[in-house]
Symmetry: C2
Subunit: 149 residues, 2 copies
């Protein structure tokens, strides 16, 4: 499998938003036919050294994405943690280990930034994802709370 | 109750780290007698417009703290979310509503930054905290995963 990981570029936006939308929970939340606002936001993310969208690419096709954000705090002796959000694999590429390889890449990115912790949350309904993260060594130690504004 | 909220200043560091350490989980994780590294990290947080430590102050005494980080992503139509970490109330000030008022302040900070979501995780053993967040309107909808590096 010729699989590479790199930071997303503006031309990947359509493929990324398509992956975010092609998901049981994302379907009602995204507007893949209207990329204007995503494009504006993508520019902000590109300008932030602590925030990145990473894509998986196979033979020129984007088949996965995730967001990684490096957050420095005081707790845990002033630790920097990596927060991972929006992990998706294209439907056409599932079952090939893309998600696992992409997460391992994200963990290495976190190590390279001297993070001492990688964290993420996953909707309680995504039980297959929970098994996936546990296989990667994550501990399901926390409850995740969300408040819509 | 004369309670105000403001961004932390360097002179608050000792009180903040003392609160982080005075906690069942924080006790083994913090070094309140050695602030040098916390001080360095605090400078980095002060220099980051997307990251803040907020303190509660009552009559000149710091009685609470939390960290709020604004994270822009592509998902949810390019939403910005606020992540809250390290919520603590000083032992001497518990049961007075400091934590609730501080969280309501954080939610207003998130609104002011046009966040559409506030999120946080809480260790599964902190069942009283879970009730607290639910009373504030948070939904315990996600599993929280952590990987120590």
């Amino acid at each position: 499998m010729n699989l590479v990981f790199r930071e997303a570029r503006a031309r990947d936006l359509k493929a990324i938003v398509a992956m975010l939308a092609d998901d049981d929970l994302g379907r009602g939340r995204e507007t893949p036919d209207d990329l204007e606002h995503y494009s504006l936001v993508f520019g902000q993310i590109e300008g932030d050294v602590r925030n990145a969208i990473v894509v998986a690419e196979q033979d020129g096709t984007v088949t996965g994405c995730l967001q990684i954000t490096y957050i420095t705090g005081l707790s845990r002796r002033g630790a920097t943690r990596a927060l991972v959000e929006g992990v998706r694999t294209a439907a056409s590429a599932r079952g090939q280990g893309v998600g696992e390889a992409m997460m391992r890449h994200a963990i290495e990115m976190a190590r390279a930034r001297r993070c001492t912790l990688v964290q993420l949350t996953s909707d309680k309904t995504r039980t297959r994802a929970h098994d996936f993260y546990r296989r990667l060594g994550f501990k399901m130690s926390h409850e995740g709370f969300k408040l819509d504004l």
